[in-house]
């Protein structure tokens, strides 16, 4: 049995920038623990000699030509921004 404590959940929530209340943390810890238990159950399957699967489709990545086909849509790119200036997004100061 694996079990996640509240502190670990708080950390994961912080890393994902999700605001979770104290009660929510306890609830989430229970949910996540049950998910991990389920994964643990899956671990019992013998996968000796099986290559890890990164995609369910038996396809590989299509490649595109190196051509400039997009861009020059500054107005469109900025249209949802709450604040802009001189063609830039403007955000609360982030600096060391």
């Amino acid at each position: 049995m694996s079990s996640l404590d509240k502190e670990t959940v708080r950390r994961i929530a912080y890393l994902s920038r999700i605001n979770v209340s104290e009660e929510g943390l306890t609830e989430l810890a229970g949910d996540l623990t049950r998910i991990l238990d389920f994964v643990e159950e899956l671990q019992e399957v013998d996968v000796e000699g099986c290559e890890p699967l990164t995609s369910v489709a038996d396809l590989t990545l299509p490649l595109r030509k190196d051509e400039v086909t997009d861009g020059n849509i500054q107005q469109k790119v900025l249209s949802n921004a709450p604040m802009t200036d001189a063609g830039c997004f403007v955000v609360p100061k982030v600096v060391e």
């Binding site: 995609s55 030509k65 020059n72 469109k76 200036d85 001189a86 063609g87 955000v91």
Partner: protein, 484 residues
């Protein structure tokens, strides 16, 4: 080379590994069709993919894949025919996706090697751990407004190759030599322009210290140092700091640090404290990248002669020393220039003129080889003028000075200034007779056995002919006249 920090409790050795981000030379971005051009209006080279609008899907650029493979081949590295893109998750204002598409456990290029050419002419090999493809982030500007940061996403999504070395570096100068060599290789290959001051090549240094022979110590990562000289300085300063911490009974905490070149110190970056937990997972928007041997073979055909091979050829075929060959191949433009000068001429003589005279003059003027006022063709002609006795070596230096100033053709300069060597016996004889007639006492000294006075006479004759007399002829004729 050994580099030891003598602490108060004994000697310490440094262990360094470098992570270098090289911006891939391509027209469009790694996963979108927006331009990679530098210096355009803010957010004009941005597609909705780069701005991470919902529902946008990445499609990989074939050229970026080829450039990564080409670089891998240049590093004599293992090419992985199957590789996987993963998401590296972190939040920052200039990373609109909230993750960087990178490669984690299956990079496109595996283990390789770089041979360092040290300033003393020796070599050392440093292992390459891997090379992987990833997206660049946007650019944050913090100095436009006291309360806000400005974000430009033009760089967001441009392809980077992250090249990770093994922790084989033991000297700040080796770190410098590593970066110099890596830059030369990517420039020869044309896969990255290698300009550190424009940010198209950026370096993070992992630094730790240990007692010689003991296991590795805890390392700190110094982020984004933007010149080779600063990387060397940052390593020196960080290693000294770690020794001081350890010797005063402290412990090194693994952390990301910033190098402040103005204050000459490194300091911890607070914002990165939680950032090491990137929660990588395979990007569900991207299938595995797979190619075959034919794809690699096609790229292999386009490989140019690389610095190591060129250096060996200069040593073996042109008879140059390892040091001179190393200086010439350090930049492709320098090697190309030298090859034009050396073609059909004495390789060593050509190397002397290029390294001593030309590079000397360019360094003094603080210009690069591309801005050289003297073309390789003209420097070649100058060497021909010496070889066929049109001018003496001494006059050649004067002609070279004029070439540096005016960029002129040496044949014309010699013609116009009347600098042709005098090989006409009659003219030389007249000059000799005049000097002898004016200095009977000195002639007597020579006849009395003071042989070295002969040199003085040669000098006088050269002076009276404006340096144009053939020194060999002057010497012989003087000897014949005075002693003969």
């Amino acid at each position: 080379m050994t580099y030891i920090i003598e602490g108060s409790t004994g000697p310490w050795e440094i262990v360094v590994g470098l992570e270098v981000h090289c911006q891939v030379v391509s027209n469009s971005k790694l996963f979108s069709g927006a331009s990679t051009k530098f210096g355009n209006d803010a957010n004009s080279n941005v597609s909705l993919v780069d701005a991470a609008m919902p529902g946008m899907l990445p499609v990989i650029n074939a050229e970026c894949v080829r450039q990564a493979v080409k670089t891998g081949l240049g590093l004599k590295a293992q090419i992985n025919k199957e590789s996987v893109f993963s998401r590296k998750n972190y939040f920052y204002a200039d990373l609109p996706q909230g993750y960087q598409i990178s490669q984690f456990d299956k990079p496109i290029v595996g283990k390789g090697t770089i041979i360092l050419d040290m300033p003393d002419g020796t070599t050392k090999s440093v292992g390459i751990e891997r090379l992987h493809l990833e997206q660049d982030a946007g650019k944050s500007m913090h100095d436009q407004d006291p309360k806000y940061s400005h974000i430009d996403l033009n760089r967001s999504g441009v392809a980077l190759m992250e090249i990770v070395s093994d922790p084989d570096i033991r000297h700040p100068e080796e770190a410098g030599a590593y970066l110099t060599k890596l830059r030369a290789i990517v420039r020869y290959l044309g896969t990255c322009d290698g300009n550190m001051n424009e940010g198209s090549m950026r370096c993070d240094a992992n630094v730790s210290v240990r007692r010689p022979g003991e296991p590795f110590g805890t390392r700190c990562e110094i982020k984004n140092v933007n010149s080779i000289r600063f990387v060397m300085q940052a390593i020196e300063i960080e290693a000294k700091r770690q020794v001081e911490v350890l010797e005063s009974g402290g412990e090194i905490i693994q952390q990301t640090r910033l190098f402040d070149q103005r204050l000459g110190e490194t300091r911890a970056m607070r914002s990165k404290e939680m950032a090491h937990d990137y929660r990588y997972f395979p990007d569900p928007d991207l299938l595995p990248l797979v190619f075959d041997d034919a794809f690699i073979a096609e790229i292999e055909k386009t490989l140019p002669e690389l610095p190591d091979e060129k250096k060996a050829r200069f040593i073996n075929e042109n008879g140059l020393s390892a040091y001179d060959a190393g200086v010439l191949v350090a930049e492709k433009e320098k090697a190309d220039y030298y090859e034009i000068v050396a073609k059909g001429r004495d390789g060593k003589l050509a190397a002397n003129w290029v390294i001593t005279n030309l590079f000397g003059a360019l360094n003094k003027a603080e210009v690069g080889i591309a801005e050289s006022p003297v073309t390789a063709e003209n420097l070649g002609k100058l060497i021909d003028l010496i070889s066929n006795d049109t001018i003496s070596g001494r006059i050649a230096k004067d002609v070279f000075e004029i070439m540096i100033e005016t960029g002129g053709d040496p044949e014309k300069i010699v013609e116009e200034k009347g600098l042709k060597q005098i090989t006409d016996t009659g003219a030389i004889e007249t000059a000799i007779d005049e000097v002898i007639a004016a200095n009977p006492d000195k002639v007597q000294e020579i006849r009395d056995g003071k042989d070295r006075m002969l040199g003085w006479f040669v000098g006088q004759v050269m002076k009276s002919t404006g340096g144009k007399a053939n020194p060999g002829m002057v010497n012989k004729m003087l000897r014949d006249k005075i002693l003969g």
